[in-house]
């Protein structure tokens, strides 16, 4: 019962990420919604499923998928955001200090 509630909370977080991806009006803002909320949601869903499944192989597979998701999502998010920044596909807001201007150029 508790595992199913955890899975439902995770699915709702993934839905929240999807709503953020549709509603925000900038690629970097969309990634901000997608990377964080999606990883948290899928971790909740996978750990909830791992505590419901009985077979030990499937439990270890689900935990492996959880660990891989946590490890790989920040790396791919960083690569994508750096390429978006470099291709200048973002809004240039006049009231914002561009703190990435020197380090991300290399």
């Amino acid at each position: 019962m508790i595992a199913e509630i955890v899975m439902l909370v995770g699915a709702l977080l993934i839905l929240l990420a999807a709503v953020g991806v549709v509603r925000f009006n900038d690629t970097l803002a969309r990634m901000h919604a997608q990377t964080k909320a999606t990883v948290t949601g899928v971790v909740l869903v996978l750990t909830g499923a791992a505590s419901e499944v009985t077979n030990a192989h499937h439990v270890s597979m689900l935990l492996l998928a959880t660990g891989l998701q946590v490890l790989t999502a920040p790396v791919s998010g960083y690569l994508l955001s750096r390429s978006v920044y470099r291709s200048r596909d973002i809004h240039a807001r006049v009231d914002v200090v561009d703190e990435l201007s020197s380090p991300a150029e290399d």
Binding site: M7, V21, L46, M61, A73, S87
Partner: protein
Amino acid sequence: MITAVLVVLLLAAITFGYRLLRGPTIADRVVAADGLLVVGVAAIATNAVRTGDGSFVPVAVVTTLVGFVSTSVVARYIEGRS
């Protein structure tokens, strides 16, 4: 309860699919496609709980790795194009 989880995941997939079709830039579509893969992983795990048959659970691991590699490759492509 498990059915509710699957319905919420279906709504998330439809919402990501809207951005995948509309997204003005390639990066927006990549963000939406990555989200769709995550929805797929969660749906595989949920279905394993619902049916009690975990035959497709290894596919969740592979889908995670495919999402990482594809996002990285498209990021390299966007960066090399400009």
